[in-house]
Subunit: 347 residues, 2 copies
């Protein structure tokens, strides 16, 4: 018998979720030896789980439709993670193999056959061969990295010499976008909500400029740092910053709508007033969801691994230890009180 700490979704939050009120730690026991698996199922011991802003969208009433199913009240929360198979009734996975896919916010997860078949085998197989930290496969080389890669290349259509502005630029996606844009010869400007993040963007990631949107005037900073206007806005936040950026975009600019974190924890959504710029400047605003673009995974892995080997990419992680600390870590993502890709190290 082993203990299995897990985090349960307890209630639907209205604004920011509260630890204990909407997410609760529950410790159960699990009998690994006698655990019964249906055909195709596996049992895994979880190493790392990725916490990401999109999860807030799943903390909703189940009758509100969206692109991902709502979390179920009373059930263990889930997310993408890296785990080791400890028991298997699936031909593709042997005990000791890596598993990269949907796991619970818990120490051990029972993965049913349908989730096993939706897992990303190419990633799981790449881990042991690579000399790359395991957790990177949830960040730089995982979904957030792919989001940045796909969003920038397919929607952003970057051209050498153009200017890109990135909000939440030190986040899981933002830092990838900025570095790829630098490699491609763009002028890269970013915003974040903390001076240490700004320092990191400027000094470590070599952004051409960065500012703290909480202490600076965004409009003035964009005027100063993007004197020739903005050609690509990689938007992770939505709301007021998007509204201001619309006034700084050049003709034919592209807005990559990757996330709108400023709007996730409120029902009183910000009203964007400058949309008339879409017509006069012939803008494109396009949203995307990374799971629609898994067919890009291979070329993404190849190109990113190469850049990583060449020392062209850095990746800042915020690793929290212990699944019991996951709820607070998740709240910290939503309030901006984290720095880099949020990962929970489970064991």
């Amino acid at each position: 018998m082993a203990s299995n700490k897990s985090i349960i979704f307890k209630a639907v939050p209205d604004g920011y979720p509260v630890v204990g009120e909407h997410m609760e730690l529950v410790t159960k026991e699990i009998d690994i030896e006698n655990f019964s698996l249906n055909d195709g199922d596996i049992l895994v011991k979880n190493h790392y789980i990725s916490l990401d802003p999109y999860m807030r969208g799943k903390m909703r009433h189940p009758d509100v439709k969206s692109y991902t199913p709502a979390f179920e009240i009373g059930k263990v929360l889930d997310g993408r993670g890296i785990a080791i198979v400890v028991k298997s009734n699936n031909k593709k996975y042997q005990v000791g193999d890596y598993f990269v896919g949907l796991i619970g916010w818990e120490e051990y997860s029972h993965i049913p056959a349908n989730i096993v078949s939706a897992s990303i085998e190419t990633l799981a197989k790449a881990i042991p061969k690579s000399k790359i930290p395991e957790s990177y496969f949830l960040g730089l080389l995982g979904m957030p990295g792919l989001s940045g890669y796909v969003g920038l290349n397919k929607i952003g259509q970057p051209k050498k010499g153009e200017t890109i502005f990135i909000s939440a630029a030190s986040g899981a996606v933002g830092q990838v976008v900025g570095q790829i844009a630098k490699i491609k010869g763009l002028r890269v400007i970013g915003s974040a909500g903390d001076d240490s993040k700004i320092k990191y963007l400027e000094e470590e990631l070599k952004f051409d400029g960065a500012f703290n949107y909480k202490t600076c005037n965004t409009d003035e900073k964009l005027k100063e740092l993007c004197p020739n206007g903005i050609d690509i806005y990689f938007d992770n936040v939505g709301g007021e910053i998007l509204d201001i950026v619309l006034n700084h975009l050049n003709n034919f600019a592209r807005v990559v709508a990757c996330g709108m974190i400023s709007q996730y924890n409120t029902n009183d959504h910000y009203g964007v007033k400058n949309l008339f710029q879409v017509v006069t400047k012939r803008l494109i605003i396009q949203g995307f969801i990374v799971s629609d673009h898994f067919q890009e995974m291979e070329s993404f892995q190849k190109e990113m691994s190469e850049w990583l080997k060449q020392g062209k990419l850095k990746y800042k992680e915020d690793i929290v230890e212990g699944i019991q600390n996951a709820p607070q870590a998740f709240v910290n993502i939503l309030t901006g009180k984290k720095f880099g890709k949020m990962i929970v190290k489970i064991c």
Copy 2:
């Protein structure tokens, strides 16, 4: 000597322009016989001028940048028109030829060489050969028609069986979009601000549904008339209707941002609150300006003329007689007090 009534741009309006205050009738004399033309210039007698919502955007302070130059205070207003050459110092135009291009809101216009070379010769040559009403070359077969054609085809990417919703659907552009969409096998729903327009959309243009947004609840009507959601929104108005439509769009829907007439006469712009749908539904919102797409003119003319011959296209015009009535006619466009493409018949 001939009299030349013209309309002068007198002052920049804050909200809706006012006849007499911002646009003023001035009558001058013109000596056609002794009128001196520089190399490449022509003198024309104006037949028809097109009045369009975009002109409101030109009634601004000259230091506000946009895609078209601001009107100059004290000068004659201009717009696209059809005229006959009465004097020429340009090899391409003989006396008696049609001219289609930028003319003044006046009876006779002196067209300088640079404007002559920017005129659309293919249209001018098509008029005498066609059996189509002259004024159609300013509407169905002119810029508004091309706007509808390009916006629907290039940005809308219409597919048989999809649902399109069109605002200002009985307007110069909207009626073209709706009829092409019907020809292509889409379900076509439109809104307008007057019951007679709704009747026209349903009975004459055979839309699948239409409603008066002034007397109906837009949200409820869209639920009722678009039970399978909306795949293309052809947006001529922006503002609140755009906001409501965002909630009715299907995944991967396209918003063709053609105009935002609801936002032209106010500095207190409507704040669009539902933009988070851009991410969750992977939407594209794309603006365009017809003058970027003149290379489509030939295929447009060909396809549209064919449909017109086959009786597949109708076109409602609102023809006002006399240039002295142009200012009020222009205000009527902005307030919705017109029905169909607004044209001023000058002589």
